[in-house]
């Protein structure tokens, strides 16, 4: 089966801003793929390109085996897109918004499906109030419901949990994991490093380029670990790579002296690793 998303050397310029600068990546079906990066890194432009809302200047792009510009209609039936801004009709109710965006698709029993997603985003109690009376987090939930309503096999989510409180954010991620386990693909951008840990793989973006693309564990191994060894009343510190191999090497060197009373490890956090990656890239000419 083809990959859900295949991007090769994608470039897109807005005036003087090079929004995408040679992006290449492939996302197999069933994966939760995360895009991590600061504002202006190019995450939104990449997601908009995948749904055919931004036309690339060069490079190739296949989403579910289709060209997002030339085969937009066929593709959009299979994609659930959640933009960064809520993008809802403020004077309509959550239910009316979900029903309207769902009306572009074959929903089967539309009313039942709308009720189901409203229940999932925990908005059944407010489903008839105008959207402008809802909080920012509630609007995000309505927006997610609009993206989920037609049960798409691919979700393109641009910062879906911004403003959503932690318990509901956890519920969202459980749902994403469930969808991925059932074969769905999720392409999600985020600022939240803890969310990145829930992804199968993560691409770190800056200035329209991918600085690193790896599993969260793989990214963590790019950091350093400080090992503190307390032995005979003294504490020694040594910094090693955060890989299992480096730790084994370190322990072999020490020979695990019977006098060693404690071994403490302080590994770099994902946040520090990502910031180091971004800084290192920024320092390059």
């Amino acid at each position: 089966m083809t990959d859900a998303v295949v991007v090769d050397n994608l470039r897109k310029r807005y005036g003087r801003i090079q929004a995408l600068d040679g992006i290449s990546l492939a996302v197999p079906r069933g994966e939760i793929f995360g895009l991590l990066g600061a504002n202006g890194a190019g995450k939104t432009t990449l997601i908009r390109s995948l749904v055919g809302l931004a036309r690339p200047d060069s490079g190739t792009l296949r989403v579910l085996g289709l060209d997002p510009v030339r085969e937009a209609r066929a593709l959009r039936r299979q994609v659930g897109y959640m933009p960064q801004a809520p993008s809802l009709y403020q004077d309509l109710s959550p239910r009316e918004n979900v029903r309207f965006f769902g009306s572009a698709h074959e929903l089967g029993d539309a009313e039942a499906r709308v009720a189901e997603v409203m229940k999932f985003v925990e908005l059944a109690a407010r489903e008839r109030d105008p959207v402008h009376t809802l909080s920012g987090g509630m609007k995000q939930r309505v927006s997610l419901a609009c993206a989920l309503v037609h049960r798409p096999p691919l979700l393109l989510l641009d910062e879906p949990t911004a403003g959503v409180d932690p318990p509901l954010r956890e519920a969202f991620w459980n749902h994403f994991r469930g969808l991925a386990a059932a074969g769905g693909t999720i392409f999600v951008s985020t600022h939240q490093l803890d969310e990145a840990m829930s992804c199968g793989r993560v691409a770190v973006m800056r200035n329209g380029r991918i600085l690193a693309c790896d599993t969260p564990a793989g990214l963590l191994q790019r950091g350093r670990t400080v090992v503190r060894v307390a032995s005979g009343g003294r504490t020694e510190e040594e910094t090693i790579a955060s890989t299992p191999e480096a730790l084994a090497e370190f322990l072999k060197r020490r020979g695990l002296d019977p006098a060693v009373a404690r071994v403490e490890l302080a590994a770099d956090t994902l946040e520090k690793i990502v910031l180091d990656l971004v800084r290192r890239e920024g320092a390059q000419p």
Partner: protein, 249 residues
């Protein structure tokens, strides 16, 4: 899922929004009535003996309908773009023609009410003593002008990213329409280049039908070929609007 069903969904959604937006309804339905009343006050005060007020009042009423409908449509469409609901519609698989078809259907309902109200007020204020067939003809012209004004609003909305940017387009379309269309002075009195330009304004085509209609004993058939002007103009603007409604950047 057919395109017609999707267009119906857009139209239904727009109508629901219109029904809940009292300010919009007020501007679309009550504001033209107020301005037409001011027109009556103005014409009564001028008291020019050499023309019949109705020959000015009916085209001026048409102009008011044109102006308000055009501005409101342009602003609503620009708001759709600014709040990214337009992009979201495209991302969900709605096509340009379905979106425009839906909007046109909903606004046509509005235009039907708006034109009827304005014409009724004109008939009452200016004591228009016409046979029903002439009223029906006047109504048809005003109704078509109203629909064309929406198409023009949708077309112009493509050139603005927010409601602020749409403002300069308002005088750009409306003022030439007033000067060149023949509502104030006959088109024949204009220089050749301005006469050519007048064909670009929708009000010219409306006035070309209204003028013979308002003359004593005038019938719709008296307008001759000019009758084709309005639907043809509408078809061109609507096609332009559909093709230029930007889907991607």
């Amino acid at each position: 899922m057919t395109g017609i069903l999707r267009a119906r969904a857009v139209g239904g959604r727009v109508l629901r929004q219109i029904a809940r937006d009292r300010r919009f309804l007020g501007l679309a339905l009550v504001a033209p009535l107020f301005v037409v009343y001011l027109l009556k006050v103005f014409l009564d005060s001028v008291d020019v003996p050499f023309f019949r007020a109705e020959t000015i009042a009916v085209p001026a009423g048409a102009f008011i309908v044109h102006f308000i409908t055009y501005v409101l449509t342009a602003i609503v469409l620009v708001r759709e773009r600014g709040e990214q609901t337009l992009a979201r519609m495209f991302a969900n698989g709605f096509r340009q023609r379905e979106i425009i078809g839906g909007y046109m259907a909903a606004y046509t309902a509005l235009a039907t009410v708006q034109s009827a109200l304005v014409l009724s007020e004109l008939a009452w204020l200016f004591k228009l003593d016409y046979p029903a067939s002439r009223f029906a003809s006047l109504y048809l012209v005003m109704w078509m002008l109203s629909i064309i004004s929406m198409s023009l609003g949708i077309f112009v909305s493509n050139f603005a990213r927010n409601e602020g940017q749409v403002l300069p387009f308002i005088p750009l379309v409306v003022v030439p329409s007033l000067f060149l269309s023949g509502v104030i002075i006959p088109v024949e009195d204009l220089p050749a280049w301005a006469r050519a330009l007048s064909r670009v304004t929708p009000l010219y085509h409306a006035d070309a039908v209204l003028d013979p209609l308002l003359k004593s004993g005038g019938r719709l058939a008296d307008a001759g070929w000019a009758l084709l002007g309005l639907p043809l103009y509408g078809a061109i603007v609507l096609t332009l609007a559909a093709f230029t409604l930007r889907e991607r950047d």
